[in-house]
Structures are given as C-alpha cells and as structure tokens.
C-alpha cells in the first residue's frame, strides 16, 4: 500500500501565501480605514478652523473698526482654551497686525501677507473682517490639525496592526513548516510501513515455503519410521509364519508338531492382522463396531491378561468406580487401547513399578457424562517436549524395532472415534497418567458378550456359493475355505462376469469383494438385487472406505483378513442352515 506523501504537501504552498495575502489585505483595509478617518477628521478640522476664524472675524469687527486693540485681544485670547490653535491674528485694512495671539513664539507674522503656507499638520484659515459690506481687515487662524496624542495613537494602531499581521504571517509560516515537516515524517513512516509490510509478506511466503518443506520432511521421516517399525514387526511375524509353513511342508511331521506350528501360524497372523488393524484405526479407515460395555467388567476380565503381559516386576492395581455408567465403544479397539497404554507403562518402568487402573465418573465438554479410565504408572515420565508429540503417529522414544509409534496414536484415534478424549499428564521422573474419557451411553443395554467358543466347524453344509474377487489368490483362498465347509463354489474375477454367471446358473449365496476394477461389489449387489431378488449377498473388504462412504445397504460385511469362524458365522446368518 504505497502512500503518496506529496498529496499532503501539494496544497501546502498556496495556503500560506493566500493567508499571508489575506493578512496583508486586512492590514491594508485597516490602514485604509484609519486614513479615511484621518481625511474626514482633517476636513472636519478645516471646517472647524474656518468657522472659528469666521466667529473671530465677527467678534472683532467693532474692535478693529474702533481700533480697540485690548477688546480685540480679549476676543482673540478666548481661543487660548483650544490648545490646537497655534496662532491667530487680526490684521487691519492695511495688512498690519492689530491684535493676535500665538502659542509658540514667532508663529504670528507682523504682516498679513507674511503668513506662511500651512504645514503638513496645520490648517490655516483666512477670513475677511467685513463691516457693512466693507472689508476692514482679515483674520488669520493657524490650527494644529490634530493633537500629538491622537497622532501617536494613530501610528500606534497602524504599528499594532502591522505587528499583528507580521505575527499572523510568522505563525502561519511556522505552522506550515511544522505541518510540512510532520507530513514528511508521516510520508516517511508510511513508506517505511509499506516496506516493512512487503518484507513481512516475503517472510510469510518464505515461512510458508519452509513449513511446506518441513511438512514434507516430516512426512518422509514418518514414512521412514513407519517403514522401520512396521517392516521390523512384520518381518518378525513373517519369519514365524514362513518358518512354521516350512516345517509343515516337510513330509515327516508328526501330528503334535503339525498342530503346534499351525497354531503358531494362526496366532502370528492374528498379530499381523492386529497390527494392520492398528494402522487402519490410526488412519480412521476402520469402521468401529460399537457395543454397550461395562468398563469395570472389561477391566476385571483383562486383569489376568495384563498381569501376564506386563510381567512380574509390574504390579497391577485396579481401583474401580462403584456405579459406573455404561459406555459405547468397539470392544476390540478398547482392548487394544488398554493394552497399548499398559505396554507403554511397562516400558516406562524397566526396573518395575506399579500400574494403577482407575475408573471414575467424568464429563466431556458441556456436562456430557462420561467415564474416565485412568492408567497411572510410577515410571520415568515424559519430558515436556515429548509430551506434546505423544499422540503423533510413528512418534516413539523406543529403539527402532521396539515400537511402531502407533500405540498412543491408536488410543487417540479410538477415543476420538468413540466421541471421547485422551489426556496425558506426566512429569519427568514422577510417572505418567493416561486418562481415556469415553461418553456414557444412558439408554443402551449391555449385550451379552458372545464367548466365541472354538466351535467345531465340521458341521456339514451344502449349497452353491458364487465367490467374486479380482485377486486370484484371495479368491482361491475363499474357494478352498468354502469347499472345506462343504459348499459348492463358482468363482468370478469381475462384477460383470459374476452377473452373467448369476443369470445363467442358480446360486444360494454370493460372496463378493467390494473394491474391484470396473463394477464394484456394491454395484454388483444392486444389480443382483434386481436380477435375482432374494439372493443373499455377503460383502468382504480389507478396505472399508467404500463401505463407509456408500454403506453396505444392510448387507453383512466380513472384513479381511477374515478367519474361518467369522466367515462361517456370516454365512450361517445369511443361509438358514440345513442340518
């Protein structure tokens, strides 16, 4: 925003000149008035003097006529009272002085003709003395035009006027100068401001660029950490799976060994699935399956597991609220969150310590009732710097391979998705308290937790199932599983192929992947609803975005990676079992 200081200054020169001219005009008018008054006064004075001369002439006529000088002098002396009359002379017919009066010596000539012309400040009145139409003499009267005091006053007023005008002009000049100087200063300041503004903008841009670069760098760093953490964990898990599978492939494996290694593969895969679930929870791509839960019951159920997980050196103490409200959360995520916090607590107490698990009433935001689930450890605590970053994904203080940096991140994601909150209070050396706040569900009833028993799945099933998956291996895996369960299976690798098959053949159920090139699983399901109404459809996906966005249309969903039990359960629900 460049300002133009010249705009302020441009009119600045003419104004003082105009004001000066105005002041001079005022002075001129003042002086004019004074001199006009003066002229009037002079004229009046002249008239006055003439009248006085006339009066004198009349009053001394007889005295002159009869040569009565004392009487004439008396008349003349009467003028003495007027200090402005300087001299008066009565002259006879022959021009000789008959009687007279003078205020100052030598101002009264002896002969009438010797009267000098009146000076600048004088009025000379000459009047004839006439008796019966005959001129018998002359009166000369010299009067001061104005008293000195009056003159001084007049010049004083003029001087005062000039002084005032000079003062006005000076004041104007000074004021104008000040104004110009302040204008200049203002202009300079405005310029400096605009310079500073431009510089600031450049800096802001630079900062934005730097921030962008920093974000990019952080992203890269995060990616590096992710790679380090996840790859390590996965490699471990894969090593177990690979090794176990290798052993199982050997021909001379006895039954006990086979079961042990198969179990190892199952467990390890479960852990791997949990790891990816954590990743998805972190990126909030995993839909929660919230249930109404009694928090105290959950903690009690987990105490034994926690004891075992945390080892002998960590004492686990629970302090549970008397009347907890029910909460609504995804039980699996809740368990994961509890485990994550507990493991962090254990890692903070390498020399052993105490973990206190507390439940209690709390509130969220504006008096929204909630349950607080607090984990207080007696560990090393978290430094202030790190405290601000604990929820950052992939942030970890643990050695590479010891942690993924996703633990608290999962806790945060879970709490946020459940409408709750997480707080971490910690001081270095004094332990850490992690508090998870979960909103109360005041209406729901706790669902009886289904104890998933290892049901024998050897129950014989029958029916035709169409498996749709664009991935050959996954499709084949599903086919094998379903064949194991006793179903007859046909496989399609795209939606359109599946639609064709469904129209030409009869199926009892369609098991389709959601995310496929071309026709998606959801589109296929809709098409099948129109083509073959009543045909049960089960959706499967490892990537819930599509389902989350469009909804499953009320259709059951089996999330990848799925286990045999989950698949069986979904199919059993969809297909009335023919026992």
């Amino acid at each position: 925003m460049p300002t133009h200081p010249t705009r302020f200054a441009s009119g600045g020169r003419t104004i003082p000149i105009m004001m000066g001219l105005l002041a001079m005009l005022l002075v001129a008018i003042g002086i004019g008035v004074i001199f006009q008054n003066e002229a009037n006064y002079r004229e009046q004075k002249t008239r006055e003097t003439n009248v006085q001369a006339e009066i004198l002439a009349a009053s001394v006529t007889a005295a002159l006529d009869f040569q009565d000088a004392p009487t004439a002098r008396e008349s003349v002396d009467a003028l003495r009272v007027n200090p402005q009359i300087l001299a008066a002379g009565i002259y006879g017919k022959d021009g000789a002085l008959f009687a007279g009066y003078e205020r100052r010596p030598r101002s009264l000539p002896n002969r009438a003709l010797a009267w000098p012309a009146a000076g600048d400040n004088m009025v000379l009145a000459v009047y004839p003395i006439v008796r019966s139409g005959e001129r018998i003499g002359t009166v000369y009267l010299l009067s001061q035009r104005e008293p000195l005091k009056r003159r001084i006053t007049r010049y004083g007023i003029v001087a005062l006027l000039l002084l005032l005008a000079a003062m006005i002009v000076t004041a104007l000049g000074v004021a104008h100068n000040l104004l110009r100087r302040s204008n200049r200063a203002l202009g300079e300041r405005a310029e400096a401001l605009s310079d500073a503004y431009a510089e600031l903008q450049v800096q802001v841009e630079e900062r934005a660029r730097a921030e962008e670069q920093l974000r990019q760098a952080q992203k890269m760093q995060a990616l590096g950490q992710l790679t380090g953490g996840i790859a390590h964990d996965f490699n471990n898990l894969l090593t177990v799976i690979q090794g176990s599978a290798d052993i199982l492939r050997r021909p001379d494996v006895d039954d006990a060994k086979r079961i042990r290694f198969a179990e190892a593969i199952v467990q390890t895969t479960g852990r791997a699935a949990a790891l990816t679930a954590q990743l998805l929870a972190f990126s909030r791509r995993q839909p929660l399956k919230p249930q109404v839960i009694d928090l105290n019951r959950k903690i009690r159920a987990m105490t034994e597991l926690l004891d075992r997980t945390l080892g002998e050196r960590v004492e686990v103490v629970s302090d549970l609220a008397a009347n907890p409200c029910r909460i609504e959360a995804d039980p699996a995520q809740l368990e994961a969150a509890i485990l994550n916090v507990a493991v962090n607590a254990r890692d903070a107490m390498p020399g052993g310590g105490k973990l206190t698990i507390r439940t209690g009433s709390a509130s969220l935001g504006e008096d929204k009732p909630a349950m607080a689930l607090a984990f207080a450890d007696t560990g090393s605590g978290i430094g202030e710097e790190d405290l601000a970053r604990v929820f950052e994904p992939f942030f970890t203080t643990k050695a590479v391979g010891k942690g993924t940096g996703l633990g608290l991140s999962q806790v945060y994601g879970f709490a946020a998705q459940s409408g709750g909150d997480v707080r971490v209070d910690s001081r270095l050396g004094e332990g850490t308290t992690v508090t998870i706040l979960l909103p109360c569900n005041l209406h729901g009833h706790e669902e009886a937790e289904e104890e998933i028993e290892a049901r024998p799945v050897i129950v014989s099933r029958s029916g035709r199932i169409l498996v749709v998956d664009d991935n050959e291996e996954v499709g084949m895996f599903a086919e094998i599983l379903l064949q194991e369960l006793g179903y007859e299976v046909r496989r399609a690798t795209s939606g359109s192929e599946a639609l064709e098959l469904a129209q030409s053949e009869r199926f009892d159920l369609v098991f389709t992947d959601v995310v496929m090139p071309g026709m998606s699983g959801l589109q296929l399901a809709e098409a099948l609803d129109r083509a073959r109404p009543g045909l049960p459809i089960i959706l499967t996906t490892g990537f819930s975005d599509e389902v989350t966005r469009s909804g499953s249309g009320g259709r059951p969903v089996v999330f990848k990676p799925y286990r045999l039990e989950a698949l069986t359960e979904a199919i059993d629900k969809a297909l009335p079992r023919k026992v």
């Binding site: 009053s59 009487t71 000789a96 009687a99 010596p105 030598r106 002896n110 019966s132 139409g133 005959e134």
Partner: protein, 178 residues
C-alpha cells in the same frame, strides 16, 4: 548639551522680541489726535446702529450726521466720513446750531450749550463728549488711560427705538440699561 544652551538662549530672545512686537501692536501705530479719533468714531457708529424703518434713508440717500451747537472737528470730520459707505449710504455732515427736525439727523453730536432734550424719544443717535458737555447722549465720549472710549446708554437708545449692535456694546466702557 553644550550646543543646546545657545539654542535655548536664541529662542528666549526670539520670544522676547515677538512679545515686544505684540505689545507695540496694541495701540495705534501712528498716534492720531483725540479729535481725529472721535471724528473717525462718529463716522463708524452708523454701521452698528439700526434705525426704525420709517427713519431709514432711502436707497442712495446719505446718512446725515449732524454737529449741533458747535464743531470741534472741523476738517477732521469731513475727512473721516469721506468715501465712507454704510450699506451703500454715504455719510453727510450737517452743522446746525440747534436741534431741528427738518435737518433729518440720523445721529447728532451735541456740543456746547445745545441740549439733547429736544431729541428725546426721536430716532436720533445722540453723541456727547465729556470734554465739552456735561449732558450725556446715548454715546458719551471719554478719555480713559489716554485712549478715546465711550459709554453707551442703551436704555435711552431703546426708548428712541434704536438698536445698538452688541459688537459696539462690547467696546463701551459701560452700558447703561434700565
């Protein structure tokens, strides 16, 4: 200061000189005789006197100055009135022995044994002189401090329906009123 002193002295001298001039200018420069002054006065009185309408001279007619019972002036009075014009009236001097209505006197100088009684109540300005008459006319000459002055009897003038100008009254030594 040293230069101012002679300046002041010069001014003083100048002042004295002017004062002496002023003093000299008071009396007439050339001293005329007492009779001449009185004669001149007699020629000037008519200018300061108003007569009733019926006794005013017609246009161009002279104002008649009568010398009754004697002439103390002789040629002096003739000189004094010669060329004298009072509102375009010349003055004519008549010498008569006694008051005479037919003479048409506007003013009368009464000298010697003659009496002013006869003119009482008539519009005639009577003038007498203390040197040669004990009786007093409306104007009565005296010599005061060496100067010719006069008394005025305004009451008598009023009785004779004459109006004497106040300027003349101002010159009189005394003015007699009722």
């Amino acid at each position: 200061m040293a230069r101012a002193l002679p300046l002041i002295a010069a001014r003083l001298l100048r002042g004295l000189f002017a004062a002496s001039l002023l003093a000299l200018s008071g009396p007439a420069p050339s001293q005329p005789s007492e009779a001449a002054v009185k004669a001149a006065f007699l020629g000037k009185f008519p200018a300061y006197v108003g007569w009733p309408a019926e006794s005013r001279p017609a246009a161009g007619e002279p104002i008649i100055l009568c010398l009754i019972g004697g002439d103390p002036f002789g040629k002096l009075i003739d000189d004094a009135v010669r060329g004298q014009q009072i509102d375009r009236h010349p003055i004519q001097v008549k010498r008569i022995p006694r008051p005479d209505d037919g003479a048409g006197c506007a003013l009368a100088f009464v000298a010697g044994a003659s009496t002013i009684e006869a003119m009482k109540g008539k519009p005639v300005l009577t003038v007498t002189d203390s040197r040669n008459s004990a009786q007093r006319g409306m104007i009565h000459f005296v010599v005061d401090q060496g100067r010719v002055r006069f008394h005025i009897d305004q009451a008598a003038a009023v009785r004779s329906r004459l109006a004497i100008n106040s300027r003349l009254l101002a010159l009189a030594l005394t003015v007699k009123k009722d």
